[in-house]
């Protein structure tokens, strides 16, 4: 029973992190109908920026992540405004290819700049943990988990309550109508992509404090973001949280009770089953289903 609780706790903590990786991905997909294959590369880039911040000026990763977020916001804004916006109305595989091209450039660029060595951000409190009953909870993981939840709620508040956020939602619902209301769709799209990249950067920083990272891990995070975003339903930010926690739990349990790497196969099995039976995600209404897919 203790093992089960421990494994469950780990799964939930890991799930929060996955949710943070996926929430930006889900936002971009839901609002702009773009599957951003370079999302994982943004995550890793965020990790490197925070790592550099720590090794240059000794900035704590929990502050460094704001630097990561700021840099990645501009990177994301730039990519959307000057590249992705140019083909945003094209067929599905055009956008997939373009973001894959960006992914190639980012990953190879990071390989050249930082080499392919494993890195991680070490902190003085990195190995602290506390006992909760018989369950051991590492401090950094808990902080990352709480941060993921706070950010998700903050993002929802931003999108629902602020003028900019509402313009993002409006553009996602009906771009034509939004433009007629005086919303600059080009700017809003770029803004959305920037926010998504910034969130990826924060997630990357958190990941760097918990585990090792290198450019080749980017693909894994993109895939995870896929799975979580689909489970939660596109553009549904609470959904990303629920999907992240679910995948975290499933992976954690499968890792404990199944042999080998069956755990990865199970994540994809869950993905395919959900896609077939509930393509709009497990949580929420079929809000985006009415949009035209092309």
């Amino acid at each position: 029973m203790d093992t089960f609780l421990q494994v469950t706790a780990y799964g939930l903590l890991q799930g929060g992190l996955l949710a943070l990786v996926a929430v930006g991905f889900s936002l971009v997909w839901g609002i702009m109908n773009i599957v951003n294959l370079s999302h994982g590369a943004f995550v890793i880039l965020g990790a490197y920026i925070a790592w550099e911040m720590q090794s240059w000026i000794g900035l704590d990763p929990f502050l460094g992540m704001f630097v990561s977020a700021a840099v990645l916001f501009f990177v994301g804004y730039f990519f959307q405004r000057f590249l992705i916006n140019l083909i945003v109305n094209g067929p599905v595989f055009i956008t997939l290819l373009l973001t894959f091209g960006i992914n190639m450039i980012l990953i190879q660029g990071m390989n050249l700049l930082f080499t392919a060595d494993f890195r991680s951000i070490q902190t003085s409190y990195g190995s602290n943990s506390f006992e909760f009953g018989n369950v051991r909870i590492p401090l950094v993981r808990l902080l990352a988990f709480l941060l993921a939840i706070v950010i998700t709620f903050a993002l929802v508040a931003f999108v629902k309550r602020t003028r900019t956020g509402i313009s993002i939602m409006a553009t996602g619902m009906d771009r034509g109508a939004a433009r007629l209301m005086g919303i600059q769709a080009r700017h809003v799209y770029a803004l959305t992509f920037g926010i998504s990249a910034a969130l990826a950067g924060m997630a990357g920083t958190m990941i760097a404090t918990i585990e090792t990272f290198d450019p080749s891990k980017a693909g894994k995070f993109t895939l995870m973001a896929f799975v979580v975003a689909v489970l939660g339903g596109l553009g549904n930010m609470y959904g990303a949280l629920v999907g992240g926690l679910m995948i975290g739990l499933v992976e954690s349990w499968a890792g404990q009770y199944l042999s080998g790497t069956w755990v990865n196969a199970i994540a994809f099995l869950v993905l395919i089953i959900v896609l077939i039976f509930r393509p709009n995600g497990l949580v929420g209404k079929a809000f985006y289903a009415a949009r035209v897919e092309f």
């Binding site: 997909w29 109908n33 599957v35 590249l83 916006n85 140019l86 083909i87 945003v88 109305n89 094209g90 067929p91 599905v92 595989f93 055009i94 997939l96 290819l97 373009l98 894959f100 091209g101 960006i102 992914n103 190639m104 450039i105 990953i107 190879q108 660029g109 050249l112 769709a185 080009r186 799209y189 693909g219 895939l223 896929f226 799975v227 689909v230 080998g260 790497t261 069956w262 990865n264 196969a265 994809f268 099995l269 993905l271 395919i272 896609l275 077939i276 393509p279 897919e293 092309f294």
Partner: protein
Amino acid sequence: MSISTQMKTRRSLIPIALTLVAVVLALVLKSHLPGGELRAVATIFMFIALSQAWNIIGGFTGYASFGQVVFFGMGGYFTAVVMLKWNFSFWLALVLSGCFAALFAILIGQPLLKLKGHYFAIATLGVAEGMREVVINLPDLTGGGAGISVPIAGKFAKTQYLGDGGFYLLFLALAIFALGIGTLVSRNKFGYGLRAIHQNEDAAAAVGINTVRSKVMAYALSAFITGIVGASYVFQQITIFPERLFDVEITVLMIMMVVIGGSGTVLGPLVGALGLQFVSEYLRQHFTNAHTFILGGIIIVAVILIPQGAVNYLREGRRTKDYSLLTNIRKYRL
């Protein structure tokens, strides 16, 4: 024979004549190339076949299969397993692995082809990633992550290794086979049905096309070609690993070639495969460190400037007398 049918036969004779010329050229080239170059050209042939295969489901039917590599891997592993465990000859294994991949496509195609757009793309990607994990986790059958080797010489091998020249011919044959299938599909009723599904699936169903059966058949056909190419690749590589055989990059390369060449045409994937593979090989030799970096840049520029692909761009340009890239960009931009 009326003039119009005469013109029709003449029009259909040109590609056949060109193909014959290309085949003769390829055969002449074979005796003049050293081993390493032979392998490089064989890889080009391999990608010609793969891109034609993807074009059937992605280009004609419009279903962006982002996990096409699953058929490559399944066909390859099928061949490796039957050659190693049951001592099949390579040629029998080749045909069977194509059928195996097609059968798998029919099984997963039934539920997956109901999905549209991104959902289909991601579901197929999930299948490919999931199957890789399955292969890794069945070490008794597939050798798991440590890989598996096919017997190529000695008394345990039914088929002796083909050598650089042999594989050159094999992949040339596969490329011609795939081009032939592509041409057939593009010109018969089945292919027009697929194009109709691409443009508007409901309308296609309304004019009497059995959309489910057409889609599944297109998927199975493209899986068959991909499967036999995977089988040949395995025999060429001798020892294979799940990471390589289910590599997403192979799918991406197929899609890139089709899209850059011009999807939904037979010529497009051919042009794309030739062009991209040449560029990629050139970059690999001249910029060892940064070749993916530059290739990524080329993809971005190509996708933005000619999103409809080179062949379609030239055809449209000839029709409208407008080759301006700016009009081209205006098409899909925000």
